[in-house]
Symmetry: C2
Subunit: 480 residues, 2 copies
């Protein structure tokens, strides 16, 4: 193939012509989101243009948000979302606090994961085929052997030092300079969140949450006899700060909880300036922020977003996270950077279960230090980026007209807003009978909202999943 000669495209620079050819091949689906596009050298040979021209073309495509450069790796098509299916609008929960009772449903969705016969679109679990199982297990074995007696002994709070050092180093890439001494390891992120809530709140207190909200937040709030106040949230930018400000002015709010980066279930990514504003807004009122960053590393862009904790100068943000979405959910290794609540979190962790299991902490610490964590994460987020688009497209094709779907820039969950006549609780039951598990909308609300919404786990993509989406679409259509 030879590029059109310079004469015929005299008015456009050659690199723009190259760029539009590539853009076209992306639009046509030759290269799909997450795919690697040809290297600069290959394209230069193919198009018979200079290396500089190709580089300029790629820079242009980067600027337009079509591709991403990945150091030492090349250029990749950025995850985009089909234009056919619009995004949901901002949520509109009622602005008065409510007791929580999501009941048995959330438990059922988690329980569905134990049934291998079900297509697992319900719980937000990572695709096991994308977890570094063998390397982790090797490290579990070698580290336990190497530490001998220490491997069977308590790692009492704040927990395994080597792991805390690795986490502290890694938090720098998210904009947080936190000393390893200011971290506490936990049995997963959920435990970190529950401990944080408990450190801050007393029974009866009100907690501001996003809406829709991760159902474990609601269950934790319920567990501690607290009340949830659902704040409207935008599918792109997360919790509405205007709505939060209004709520703060009208309600005695004791704490605020957010998943700022690649929210579960909305997929929203709160812009950095909003994160800063959120922290300032709360600190000015002496209200702690519990931030869950469990999806932060799964950014489809080359660099992961900052944490809200990065804007915390007064120790009022309790940053919670874990390796359950990237390495091993079953290891139950998470952590909290509790700011000024350090002592109380250590105390509560000790009372709750004394310590986090030692061998998994040693294995994860070693994986972070010498296991190629960055490489691993780059690999899996490429897959999730592609699958998220594939699933969103499939929803667009098969769900009834009027359906909306989110366009997350990270993580692996999609939020689908069906036409108002669709009953997601009924859909959940019908889907189960068809061998598919989904997360129905009402479990993401303390007030029974989102009856016409579902959350889909996009961590899996194959023919079986594609057929499942098609089945779901038909079931939903039958209700429209």
């Amino acid at each position: 193939m030879r590029m059109s000669s310079p004469s015929t495209v005299a008015k456009t620079p050659l690199y723009e012509t190259v760029a539009s050819r590539i853009a076209q091949s992306i639009t046509e689906g030759t290269f799909r989101p997450g795919d690697k596009i040809p290297s600069v050298r290959t394209l230069s040979r193919q198009f018979q243009v200079s290396l500089t021209t190709v580089l300029e073309a790629y820079t242009l495509l980067e600027d337009r948000g079509l591709i991403d450069a990945r150091p030492q790796s090349g250029y990749y098509v950025r995850a985009r979302f089909p234009v056919v299916t619009p995004e949901p609008g901002i949520s509109a929960p009622q602005l008065s606090p409510t007791g929580v009772s999501t009941g048995e449903l959330a438990m059922l969705v988690l329980r569905d994961t134990r049934n291998p016969d079900l297509v697992p679109l319900g719980a937000a679990i990572p695709n096991p085929a994308l977890l570094p199982v063998e390397r982790l297990n090797r490290m579990l074995a070698t580290e336990s052997r190497r530490h001998g007696i220490a491997s069977v002994s308590y790692e009492i709070p704040p927990g395994c030092e080597k792991l805390r050092v690795q986490i502290a180093q890694r938090m720098l890439t998210a904009g947080c300079a936190v000393s390893p001494d200011r971290l506490v390891t936990t049995s997963g992120c959920v435990e970190a969140v529950v401990l944080s809530l408990r450190a801050i709140c007393r029974p009866g207190d009100t907690v501001a949450v996003e809406s829709p909200v991760y159902y474990n937040f609601l269950q934790a709030i319920d567990l501690l006899d607290l009340r949830a106040l659902e704040i409207p949230s935008h599918p792109r930018h997360g919790m509405s700060l205007d709505a939060l400000r209004y709520a703060l002015d009208h309600n005695p709010i004791r704490a605020c909880m957010v998943i700022a980066n690649f929210n579960n279930p909305l997929g929203s990514l709160m812009p950095d300036e909003y994160k800063k504003e959120l922290v300032e807004l709360l600190v000015a009122r002496d209200i702690p922020l519990i931030e869950d960053d469990i999806y932060g590393d799964l950014s489809f862009a080359p660099n992961r977003p900052r944490m809200a904790k990065a804007y915390d100068r007064s120790g009022m943000v309790l940053l919670c996270s874990s390796f359950s979405k990237t390495l091993a959910p079953g290891y139950r290794v998470g952590w909290v950077a509790p700011g000024r609540f350090q002592t109380e979190i250590e105390r509560l962790k000790g009372i709750t279960n004394i310590a986090t299991s030692t061998p998994p902490q040693l294995a994860v610490a070693e994986f972070l230090a010498n296991g190629g964590y960055d490489h691993h994460v780059r690999r899996i987020r490429r897959v999730y980026a592609r699958q998220m688009v594939q699933m969103a497209e499939a929803v667009g094709r098969t769900f009834p007209a009027g359906t909306r779907v989110t366009r997350p820039e990270g993580g692996f969950v999609l939020w689908v807003e069906c036409p108002p006549t669709v009953d997601s609780l009924l859909l959940y039951e019908q889907a189960l009978r068809a061998g598919i598990t989904i997360a129905p909308g009402p479990i993401f609300s303390a007030t029974g909202k989102y009856r016409n919404c579902i959350r889909l786990n996009a961590a899996y993509w194959d023919e079986r999943v594609e057929n499942a989406i098609s089945t779901l679409g038909q079931l939903a259509a039958a209700m429209s």
Copy 2:
């Protein structure tokens, strides 16, 4: 050596003569508690008497409680306690409920374990030299490899099935026929206890506990905004049922907690008929019993005692335990048999931290199935039996007159009641300065009792520990 000829001992049967010779060698310290005595065959040769005579002699010594037969192993001197130091009397806490605030001290005692320069007589941790570290770690490695993806996946409540099957089989030896489906694995025994309390109680409820009481019970009660009612307890038989009955008649008690077998800190072993009575007493009033059996397998007698749960016909006993005292505290693998609270416990476990870490559960399950758990436990309880006597004797030698010490028949903690002028909080501080950590009495009470008592961890015994006991004795004497 030849036994005295039959003629000179004409009036006593020959086997009695043999028995008294052995008894004497035990009294003189030739054979010490936990030691193996010569086999029947050896002694028959040595004393030139028939095998039958030796067998009869050993049966007599068994009946007198001096030795124990261990199948496939031989005869061992039973753990006894020095007569020089009397046992403490029954405790006498006040019979009105109180808010709990054991404060920072309990945390400090646990924290002391991280300092290898301190002689570890404080926290009730097992001797790491007696843990099967290498075998466990080998099983951790092989089981994780064997289970592949399952080893990094959630074991959501009720938890790892293979482990539950093994635990259910083992509970039979403690008199409990519980189906594996009626067990929930937890991150250690403390978590099992906290989940149990939460499943039963609401803030403000009163819980009846032993006195002195394991301080984690008090902290759990505090955590959940409950109130503790301390019931007088006997150093041999545990919680006084008369006192409990009185308390039940005069207080609205919502739950009762006991460590019936080898209590921490008292070392008491509640007789089976008392266990039965305890369960009946509570069931008649519809009050659940939370039983902690973490020391149950560490019985110095050949057969472990039954659990109170063995007398539970109505699902009102929540049996909590773990492998932290026998296999690996750092693995954080425990369980609860929650009776009629099964569903609620599963739900609470899920909200607290979703699941217990998978690889340690797999390793422990394999150890129970094929690792020689019984043999291992027989070995370590022999050591603990001997050390407990050695430490009690050392206390008797070095502590001021008027000191009392318990005589547990299992476990590895000793409770020392010093003369009233001894201040254990001061002793704790002075001991720390001397490089020794102990558990001061007041952390075992919600009402600041036991100021003149300390708990000693007898899991270690060597010259350093012996010297530490001597130092403690001198420090206590200086306060008398």
